[in-house]
């Protein structure tokens, strides 16, 4: 194209427009805004060092649990509200249906409209509903996502509905998990975490004669490496010792290795990234070695359509890290694991650690009937209702009184007991870091960078990229 006066002027005008537009803002899409960068648990647990554990060895709570018959405000509630959740299993759906039925019969004139929505797209639907003003009054949200909603100020502050004794009935770290800037938004409904399941026959073939039976005797990293080495030697080339549950949105579970190595992701005030660190390098090197040592299938990385339980069920691996909510799937007589299987604890290194799984139940701030919403939230975490739900869904309770109680799980209570003990390794730090407002963005950074690390990117470069991405997500 010839350069003439018109072209020159047009080009200059275009360039000036671009520069002008660029100068309009120094903000970028991937930088955090001030409302989401602060911590959900910045106030902390009042110095508590209590873990999230529904530990089987924990002392029983104060004995004061939220009443199962009426809210503490003792105000008669009426009307109808909607409650949206994803039915992770038939047990979960049965648990919520039971709660609805019991609540409606205990509170005549109330109706809880249950909406069961597929997990895929669940939060996108909630977000659209909030923007459009027609989101459900109450919805389920996992602890690693709750900060996104509480940070944006769209959730109901439940502090007027819970007195000190009722708050004390919860495992402290889990109550902290639903707080943002010291304010509780919702109720901790259940929790779950990762433990190891293994094939007894494969272990026997590999000459592994015993597995840890107490949390204190969990494998060290060295012992775990020795187990993996023995399994590797006993397996054919196309089978591998184990798979880890970091697939896709589970990428944050890599952090368990970081915590086990004595590191943290964020600084204690949760405002800055605590990487790079020696612990991060150690955790990264160790987890990368899973692939170089052929302990883990090459395809069991982050961006894959196969999860750790798929590898275990298809017997590609004789050992797998899974969440306890998958126990019913493995124990299913028809489609479950073919062969005898047991469970044991996560390995430990400088510390024992596991991931914060599970869900809270929250209400929308602009719900038309906050009294009814709060009453139903309280009802869901009342002792009888929570017990029934956890027994049906094979999940762990959040009330101290139930943590030490003997729940009658429908499948493999021995495995659930191990997971419950494992949950005692979810420290306050893990809870705080997992519930920061920008954790969803941090998890995306982990997904992208861990995937590259497991395909050859160096530990130093990966940690540097994670640090940069987390800093951007925090807006620090």
């Amino acid at each position: 194209m010839d350069l003439n006066r018109r072209n020159f002027l047009t080009g200059s005008l275009g360039a000036a427009t671009m520069m002008g537009l660029a100068a309009c803002s120094s903000v970028h899409s991937n930088s955090a805004d001030s409302t989401t960068s602060s911590s959900s648990a910045a106030v902390g647990a009042a110095g508590s060092s209590t873990t999230a554990a529904p530990s089987t060895t924990a002392a029983s709570g104060s004995g004061v649990t939220p009443s199962s018959s009426a809210p503490s405000s003792a105000v008669a509630v009426k009307g109808d509200i909607s409650f949206s959740f994803w039915g992770g299993s038939t047990g979960e759906t049965a648990g919520f249906n039971h709660a609805k039925k019991m609540f409606e019969s205990a509170n005549p004139g109330t109706t809880i409209n249950l909406k069961i929505v597929p997990y895929d797209g669940f939060f996108a639907g909630i977000d659209r509903g909030i923007q459009a003003g027609n989101a459900p009054d109450i919805f389920r949200v996992d602890y690693t996502t709750i900060g996104k909603y509480s940070g944006k100020g769209v959730l109901l502050d439940v502090s007027p509905y819970f007195d000190a004794a009722e708050i004390d009935a919860f495992l402290p770290a889990l109550w902290e998990g639903i707080k943002y800037d010291g304010v509780p938004y919702g109720v901790p409904h259940q929790t779950d975490t990762t433990c190891i399941v293994y094939s007894k026959a494969a272990f026997e073939t590999a000459g592994i004669t015993s597995v840890p039976t107490t949390l204190a005797s969990a494998w060290s990293w060295e012992e775990f490496s020795a187990v993996a080495t023995k399994l590797r030697a006993s397996l054919p080339d196309k089978k591998f010792p184990f798979a880890y549950d970091w697939t896709q949105a589970g990428a944050f579970r890599w952090l368990s290795w970081l915590y086990q190595a004595g590191g943290t992701l964020l600084t204690p005030d949760l405002k800055k990234v605590a990487l790079p660190s020696a612990a991060a390098t150690e955790a990264m090197d160790y987890t990368k070695s899973f692939f170089t040592n052929k302990w883990t299938p090459d395809s069991a990385t982050i961006k894959t359509s196969q999860y750790s339980d798929n590898f275990f069920l298809s017997q590609i691996v004789p050992m797998s890290f899974i969440g306890d909510f998958l126990v019913p799937e493995l124990a299913d007589p028809k489609s479950g694991y073919k062969g005898e299987w047991g469970a044991t604890y996560m390995p430990q290194h400088k510390a024992a650690a596991s991931d914060l799984g599970g869900n809270a139940i929250v209400a929308r701030k602009d719900t038309k009937n906050p009294e009814l919403a709060a009453a139903f939230l309280k009802f869901l975490v009342s002792e009888d209702i929570m017990k029934y739900f956890c027994e049906q869904a094979i999940e762990l309770p959040t009330l101290k009184s139930l943590a030490s109680a003997d729940l009658k799980y429908a499948y493999r209570p021995d495995v659930v007991k191990i997971c419950a003990e494992q949950a005692s390794t979810i420290s306050d730090t893990i809870v705080k870091e997992s519930t920061v407002g920008s954790f969803a963005s941090i998890n995306t950074v982990l997904q992208d960078q861990l995937e590259l690390a497991f395909h050859g990117k160096s530990s130093a470069d990966t940690i540097s990229a994670i640090a940069s991405g987390v800093t951007s997500a925090l807006g620090s």
Binding site: S29, D127, Q131, K238, S299, K303, S441, D448
Partner: protein, 320 residues
């Protein structure tokens, strides 16, 4: 064409032709006709406006914003576009999309044409074959992707198990980027070749036997008849398929997402996959503004390809 029917050019011997409107209808009749015309047009205009133009305009507006799924949007100017230029994942996704398009469009069309040509003859059971080849098209892309992930499972999948029975060590379909891309291309071809076949079959039905007979009489061989007669007469079908396939390939999402989730690494991350993960990924960063920017770029690329094709094939739609 319309104006030449409605108006008669009249030479006035000097200043050029003037248009004389013969037999103008009465005003009321004209108004009635205009109203009827708008009535017929209105549904299409409303639907196009609400479901095509409005979202397009909104997407362009959002691409200039920092917008998350919750909260108030913030105007960013062109920062999203500037970030995109220096975003290595975007360039990798663009490259992957280009490779995917180059591999799927010509191969798919060639296969579709070949199958259509074979099934256009007097083959016994041809209706059954046509149905079988067309069947994958009615399966959703997600189902195709899930099926692909099972078939190409490198440790326990059908393909590698089949290869193993012949003593062949199957490739690493999931952990090797090149093989992962190849598996996605194969599944896409499997799904799409039925559509190409169908359009070419329709085109072949329109190729007159008289023209082919004339070519035979002139001494043309079978290949010459195909190359010099049939293929040129299939011009409109080829043009239509080229545009549709290019757009389809550039907007590939569901099959890839369900099959490889964009991995390993970013080796099968396509532009739309990247946009989705950026904007809508469950537990993702929820950067709707940045995702819209990627969407606008996809739109512009598709527009450029279509315009270039349109101009290059301007005469084609008059053929056949």
């Amino acid at each position: 064409m319309t104006s030449s029917r409605m108006a008669v050019p009249v030479a006035d011997g000097g200043a050029g032709a003037q248009l004389l409107q013969p037999g103008r209808p009465p005003v009321r009749r004209r108004r009635g006709g205009t109203l009827a015309g708008w009535t017929f047009l209105a549904p299409n205009l409303i639907l196009s406006g609400v479901f095509l133009l409005l979202p397009l305009v909104l997407a362009i507006i959002i691409s200039f914003q920092k917008r998350e799924s919750l909260g108030t949007p913030e105007f960013l100017g062109v920062n999203n576009y500037l970030d995109l230029v220096v975003d290595p994942v975007f360039w990798e996704a663009l490259w992957n999309t280009a490779v995917f398009t180059i591999c799927t469009v010509p191969v798919g069309m060639a296969l579709g044409l070949g199958i259509a040509y074979l099934l256009n003859g007097l083959l016994p059971g041809r209706t059954l074959y046509r149905s079988i080849i067309f069947l994958p098209l009615v399966i959703s892309g997600v189902a195709t992707g899930v099926l692909g992930s099972w078939m190409f499972d490198q440790y326990n999948g059908f393909i590698n198990n089949l290869l193993a029975t012949f003593g062949i060590d199957g490739p690493n379909w999931q952990s090797d980027g090149g093989w992962a891309m190849f598996s996605v291309i194969l599944m896409t071809l499997w799904q799409r070749v039925g559509f190409d076949m169908l359009i070419y079959l329709a085109g072949l039905q329109g190729v007159g036997q008289d023209v082919l007979e004339a070519a035979s009489i002139d001494g043309a061989t079978g290949w010459q008849k195909f190359r010099r007669v049939t293929f040129p007469l299939l011009g409109p079908s080829t043009f239509f398929l080229l545009i549709m396939n290019l757009i389809y390939s550039f907007q590939i999402f569901d099959t890839v997402f369900a099959m490889t989730a964009g991995g390993p690494g970013y080796s099968t991350t396509m532009l739309v996959t990247y946009a989705y993960q950026t904007g809508f990924g469950e537990h993702g960063s929820g950067q709707l503004g940045y995702a819209a920017t990627i969407g606008v770029v996809i739109f512009l690329i598709t527009l450029v390809i279509t315009v270039v094709q349109w101009r290059a094939n301007k005469s084609r739609d008059q053929v056949g």
